[in-house]
């Protein structure tokens, strides 16, 4: 009798819910209530001492309920549909959270202590900071898996997973650690470029600091990419090549469209900063889309018509 490793018999494991709640709690701690929201709640008759705790608790409740709703919606669909549901759901969840709290409120003053005053973020800067945040988040997740192995995957996996697919061996750990270094480097160099773009201080120390961060970050990313390429097998290499091919194609089409619009004076001239932020974003999302095929969810046999 052949027995297959069975998927989790508890489809609603508590670990991912706790992870979502803790992550939302961390986000909440970094934020401060918006004065407009406080005024609205005061006008609605909410007692003053309750307002701040309520606004800080709201992201946790919204994130957990949103996650449960997304899991229910995604259940039974293919990997791409599930990824789309989570991406769309993430956006929907983020909207009310961003209404409650001004998130990462302490980050800009902390940065300004190092770099001097920063200009208000433009659209490109917001994209650069989003890439930085996403890269650092993934770097932390990869570092956790590299450090703790299978238990970390169990905690971080948002969906029910095949027991086979969360078996992290010693060799896998070094791959995750290398990925973490690369993502950390990517976050660092994109963030440093955003600082350089927004910085108004004409201070040599700041310029040297930004330049060094960009060089070290990009170096770490390049080193990580090289090591991973050498470690990867035929399928993972094909995924990388496919991701770069699609990114190249999309970037070429995008550049053509931009050049056309630029010649008609409908858009501003493309800068190297704009190009690198767009390329990194494109490669990140294309790689995520392609690697979503490497699912960890239980395998379901394909049903074909006879």
């Amino acid at each position: 009798m052949v027995s297959f490793p069975t998927p989790s018999k508890r489809p609603w494991r508590i670990a991912p819910v706790m992870t979502i709640a803790l992550s939302a709690g961390f986000l909440s701690v970094t934020g401060a209530p918006f004065s407009k929201m406080v005024a609205r709640l005061t006008a609605a008759g909410v007692p003053a001492p309750w307002i701040a705790p309520l606004l800080h608790a709201a992201p946790i409740v919204i994130a957990v309920l949103g996650y449960i709703a997304m899991r229910a919606l995604a259940d039974g669909h293919g990997p791409r549909t599930r990824a789309a549901i989570y991406a769309l759901g993430g956006g929907v969840i983020g909207f009310p959270i961003a209404f409650c709290l001004d998130l990462f409120v302490g980050v800009t003053p902390a940065l300004e202590r190092l770099t001097g005053p920063l200009h208000e973020s433009g659209k490109l800067d917001i994209a650069a900071w989003a890439i930085t945040g996403l890269s650092l988040f993934y770097a932390a997740a990869m570092a956790a898996i590299a450090g703790f192995g299978t238990p970390a995957v169990r905690v971080l996996a948002a969906e029910k997973t095949d027991t086979d697919c969360i078996d992290v061996r010693a060799r896998d750990r070094s791959t995750y650690a290398t990925s973490a270094v690369g993502l950390l480097g990517q976050g660092a160099f994109v963030g440093a470029l955003a600082v350089a773009h927004q910085s108004s201080a004409d201070v040599t120390v700041v310029r040297i600091g930004v330049a060094l961060t960009v060089i070290i970050g990009a170096g770490a990313f390049a080193w990580s990419s090289w090591v991973l390429w050498r470690q990867f097998d035929e399928m993972l290499r094909r995924t990388v090549v496919e991701a770069y091919a699609w990114s190249g194609l999309l970037a070429t089409v995008g550049c053509l469209a931009w050049a056309l619009l630029e010649s008609l004076a409908l858009v501003p001239a493309l800068t190297a900063y704009g190009a690198i932020v767009t390329l990194v974003a494109l490669q990140t999302f294309v790689t995520l889309a392609i690697s979503s095929n490497l699912t960890m969810t239980p395998a379901r046999p394909k049903v074909r018509a006879a």
Partner: protein
């Protein structure tokens, strides 16, 4: 491309990671082959056949051959 990798692996009580180690590939590659999202290269297919001591066609069969067999 259909394959019997999952069955053959289960017969030996190997996990995906065990089989990946035997073949020198990633666990993700074994999973992708089993769920028919990735067709292995010829060298890897031969390696799999050698490991299970079976001819390739007893492990892999293309969709057309499977359809003919049903007919």
């Amino acid at each position: 491309m259909k394959n019997r990798l999952r069955v053959l692996r289960a017969e030996r009580a190997w996990s995906q990671a065990d089989l990946a180690e035997h073949l020198g590939v990633s666990r993700q590659t074994i999973n992708a082959i089993e769920v028919e999202k990735y067709d292995p290269s010829l060298p890897l297919a031969f390696k799999i056949a050698r490991l299970f001591a079976l001819p390739i066609e007893q492990i892999f069969s293309d969709d057309q051959a499977a359809a003919k067999a049903v007919e």
